[in-house]
């Protein structure tokens, strides 16, 4: 990863990671009846700059080093923390994305937020700007070294969409006979699928099948369209062209059969492997063609989730 990639990666992580992944779980708390004069020792010994105030199981306030300094500066008499604490505590839920924490830290100007479990309403941790940075750096290191390890996050985007069924549709135009630009659609699709967090092994199969199909459209036809429909279970690539069509589909599918012109062979293609390779990559493949009107290829590849069900 170069510098720019790392920065984009951090931006991604801020949305991906949850507060609970970076928060400190061992929270030093104080009681509302603890005296202000004792606070300094508590903060010093634990090397913290503030603490949630807890009564029984309930979070009743928060007290910071700043409150302590104010109290000192005013030369007030000793009193319970309960009298000086902030009662209106801003909290975060453990399952909120990190970006919410970052925004709140920035907007409200507080140094820390107690973290609450959404179900039980219990105090489960504390988060500070320092912990956010630490957590991000740690994750970045892990991601960096484990980049090859297959991650499966395809369901991520779908998690945030509220619908009984969700599908994404991408469309690409393929210009015929333009060898230079051949592969742009497959490339765009591949990049997009990776960004969606789909398993790299699945992405690779989709990319290869799409590229082979795109190549055929470029080489044998005046042009066509590629569309790709994605849902959590499968990825369907649909390629249509208005070319001459294939007289004998069965024959065309056989490895080694090719009508590729010489210029295509010189460039390293035209061995008659493409359609066969598409079939190898696909879980399902349907190729239909009408001589004179064009060819229609449909390729379906199941995601891990689709395979499971």
């Amino acid at each position: 990863m170069n510098r720019d990639e790392k920065i984009t990666k951090i931006q991604e992580l801020v949305y991906e990671m949850k507060v609970q992944e970076v928060m400190r779980r061992k929270v030093i708390t104080v009681g509302p009846t603890t005296q202000m004069s004792e606070l300094r020792e508590i903060l010093r010994v634990n090397r913290i700059s503030g603490a949630p105030v807890v009564e029984g199981d309930a979070l009743v306030g928060i007290i910071s080093l700043e409150d302590f300094i104010k109290w000192l500066a005013n030369r007030e008499d000793d009193c319970p923390i309960g009298a000086k604490m902030t009662r209106d505590v801003k909290t975060l839920y453990a399952d909120e994305p990190l970006v919410t924490a970052v925004n709140k830290l920035e907007q409200l100007g507080y140094g820390r937020f107690p973290v609450i479990d959404r179900e039980t309403n219990e105090l489960v941790g504390i988060i500070t700007a320092g912990l956010v940075i630490e957590g991000l750096l740690r994750k970045l290191e892990i991601d960096y070294s484990e980049e090859e390890i297959h991650r499966y996050r395809a369901s991520h985007i779908f998690e945030d969409i509220l619908a009984d069924r969700t599908k994404l549709l991408f469309e690409y135009d393929v210009v015929g006979q333009d060898f230079e630009r051949a592969g742009e659609s497959a490339s765009g699709l591949k990049t997009t699928l990776r960004r969606l967090g789909i398993d790299p092994r699945i992405v690779r199969r989709v990319a290869i099948a799409t590229y082979e199909a795109e190549m055929n459209v470029v080489v044998y036809t005046p042009g066509g369209k590629i569309s790709c429909e994605i849902d959590p279970e499968k990825i369907v690539v649909d390629v249509r062209d208005s070319g001459p069509g294939i007289p004998d589909v069965e024959k065309a599918m056989q490895p080694g059969y090719s009508t590729a012109p010489e210029w295509v062979r010189e460039l390293g293609f035209g061995a008659g492997m493409g359609l066969n390779n598409i079939q190898k990559c696909a879980d399902e493949m349907v190729l239909t063609s009408d001589v004179g009107s064009g060819t229609h290829l449909k390729v379906c590849i199941f995601t891990e989730q689709g395979r499971g069900s």
Binding site: N2, E148, F179, E180, A182, G183, A186, S187, K190, P200, R204, A207, I208, Y211, E212, L267, G268, F269, G270, A271, G272, M273, G274, N276, N277, K280
Partner: protein, 123 residues
């Protein structure tokens, strides 16, 4: 099973690095030599180094689709400007060696870089 870094590849093939001078720490698990992209698309395994005498943009496209680690052009061939540009965009290292295909592959194999058969048999 042995693997090599691109820096090892560069050394063994006395190669020039055209794209990806900062990516030489990347590892290749196996090598594949071919002038037929149809074949490469059908058979190459991920984490491979591709050795080829073809220099058009579709070599980079093929590498991109197949998750190929790097391309090394053999017999002194230099990639076209468009090929270089695409490789930069896609972060795919390009190397160039004066050795011909047979000798380039032989040198790497001797240094311990397997082909896909051996690499996947033991891995």
């Amino acid at each position: 099973m042995k693997s090599m870094t691109l820096e090892d590849v560069r050394r063994v093939l006395e190669a020039e690095v055209i794209v990806g001078k900062d990516l030489l720490h990347r590892r290749v698990k196996m090598g594949c030599g071919s002038d037929l992209m149809s074949d490469v698309l059908a058979f190459i395994k991920p984490a491979s180094l591709l050795l080829t005498g073809l220099t058009n943009q579709q070599t980079v496209r093929t590498a991109e689709m197949q998750d190929i680690v790097a391309i090394c052009f053999v017999r002194g061939k230099k990639p076209t400007d468009e090929t270089v540009k695409l490789a930069q965009l896609k972060n795919i290292p390009l190397l160039a060696t004066r050795f011909r295909m047979f000798e380039a592959c032989g040198r790497l194999y001797t240094e311990g870089l397997p082909g896909d058969y051996e690499a996947t048999e033991s891995g």
